[in-house]
């Protein structure tokens, strides 16, 4: 029986991931800022010079899409491979296995925090102002993290039994770049597809962020309800699948 302190262990594993990632990069934390900035520059160039479009304040607009997308893809991908990658731990230490994918997702949150700061600074630099609706930011981000935790538990358990899962996840994230309104606006989506878009928590988060940061209003309650519903359902489903799957981890890794 493992009778340790799960929170203390989670904290240690998250710190470990974070330290390893940044100790091997000469520019350190700067990478978290540089990557979205470069993408923002490139997309702004393409969609204002080559395909001009009516969206105002395009750099911030596109960054509102990039930051959630980046977080989602990185967290999902590292969460999916986490259990197989932690084979030495899973095969040798009887700690609760759920900690492994959750730590992988949360270690991306430190990275995310830096990107959110970048996004907020971009809003201020491009003429936006702080307002009371910003208080919704922690809520919508929290829901997103919950969603990714659930999804990562699901796919990390699957990845133990079917090693192709990680490639499916990789392809799905590439596809998602187009299916999440990163460089196009929600208004451009035909009405009959909007309902489907809202069920995708990443797209939904982008929508909420643009409401809060660009239009200075709180996200519509229908979006919030759908975001919470999908996030908690995914957490429940992920927990269930993981609980069933973890019994065979030792034999299959």
């Amino acid at each position: 029986m493992w009778r340790g302190d799960s929170v203390f262990l989670l904290e240690n594993l998250v710190l470990k991931d974070f330290r390893i990632r940044y100790r091997n990069m000469s520019l350190g934390v700067l990478w978290s800022v540089l990557n979205p900035l470069v993408m923002m520059g490139a997309l702004t160039f393409v969609f204002t010079r080559i395909f001009p479009n009516p969206v105002k304040n395009f750099p911030v607009f596109v960054l509102c899409g990039l930051v959630p997308y980046n977080f989602f893809t990185l967290a999902w991908a590292s969460g999916t491979t986490s259990v197989v990658d932690s084979a030495p731990l899973v095969k040798r230490i009887p700690m609760p296995r759920e900690i492994v994918p959750i730590a992988a997702v949360l270690s991306n949150c430190l990275h995310l925090l830096i990107q959110i700061l970048l996004l907020l600074s971009a809003v201020l630099v491009f003429g936006g102002h702080w307002n009371v609706h910003w208080l919704w930011l922690p809520v919508v981000w929290m829901l997103e993290v919950i969603f990714v935790c659930g999804l990562a538990m699901l796919t990390s358990a699957l990845n133990v039994y079917i090693r192709d899962t990680r490639y499916v996840v990789e392809s799905a994230t590439t596809l998602l770049f187009w299916l999440v309104p990163i460089f196009y606006s929600f208004d451009a989506i035909p009405a009959k597809y909007v309902g489907i878009y809202e069920l995708n928590p990443v797209a939904n988060l982008v929508f909420c962020l643009r409401n809060i940061l660009l239009q200075a209003k709180s996200p519509p309650s229908s979006s919030l309800v759908k975001l919470s519903l999908v996030s908690f359902t995914m957490l429940g489903l992920g927990t269930l699948v993981f609980r069933r799957g973890k019994r065979g981890f030792f034999e299959h890794i």
Binding site: W2, G4, E11, I20, N24, I162
Partner: protein, 251 residues
């Protein structure tokens, strides 16, 4: 209440269970064929009370490691029940949670958390762990700069300093130099005197004779014999056709 109790435990593995790709899954779904199984343990029962120290002996592949893995609750038995009461520290593969790019101190913290210490306990035992490992100023250097011996010393030191109720030792006493070996040995003897339970696997029969009072002899996953360690080891070494080596030779 026994600290460890195995009741009619069997553990069965499917061959080729690991590394399954989608193609094989589909092939197996379309054309199911009986999978080959083999029993790593069959119908093993034993009890260990607090303060008992048990040697597990047998050839390679006899099921010794499977027995230790079950006792550490790393996997579930296919049949029977395993009950373990108390904190287990397993010296299975030392340094499982270690990362070469992190410093010795950082690795100690992570490993202590993995082995089940909380924040207060981890902080309290930190100095003791560093002291015991005897790696000196290297503690703030990345682990990749350590020699194998130093790394093993650090890992052993964390494991024995987490104050386990049950210590599981799998062939790890070969680490380090003679001085560290005696230090580890003393430490394990200290555990015995403190009334902790020890499960020990080693191919060094003299070590087992000194360390343990009872023994379980496994062969092909079955218990061949169990009893006092001296008699058991003598019989076992006769079965190997080799006389019992003395402690000095074994080291």
């Amino acid at each position: 209440m026994p600290v460890i109790e195995f009741k009619n435990v069997s553990k069965c593995f499917h061959r080729h269970a690991g590394q399954i790709l989608l193609r094989e899954r589909i092939a197996r779904f379309l054309r199911p064929e009986p999978r080959e199984r083999f029993y790593a343990l069959s119908d093993v029962s034993f009890k260990a009370e607090a303060g008992e120290s048990i040697a597990i002996i047998g050839h390679n592949g006899a099921g010794k490691s499977t027995l230790l893995n079950l006792a550490t609750s790393l996997c579930d038995p296919t049949a029977g029940t395993v009950a373990v009461n108390g904190r287990v520290a397993a010296l299975l593969e030392l340094g499982s949670g270690f990362h070469p790019d992190l410093t010795g101190a950082e690795n100690i913290r992570i490993n202590a958390a993995l082995l089940g210490l909380n924040r207060t306990q981890a902080r309290a035992s930190f100095d003791q762990i560093v002291e015991f490992a005897g790696v000196g100023d290297f503690i703030d250097e990345p682990l990749r700069t350590y020699s194998t011996g130093m790394m093993m010393r650090l890992a052993f030191s964390v494991a024995v300093n987490v104050d386990p109720d049950i210590l599981i030792v799998d062939e790890v006493l070969g680490v380090g130099d003679q001085a560290f070996f005696s230090k580890c040995f003393d430490r394990i003897m200290q555990f015995r005197r403190a009334g902790k339970t020890i499960l020990c696997v080693s191919h060094s029969l003299p070590t087992l004779t000194t360390l343990c009072d009872r023994g379980i002899w496994l062969d092909h996953g079955r218990v061949v014999r169990a009893g006092r360690v001296e008699g058991l080891i003598e019989e076992y070494s006769h079965s190997l056709g080799a006389p019992l080596t003395t402690a000095a030779e074994a080291r």
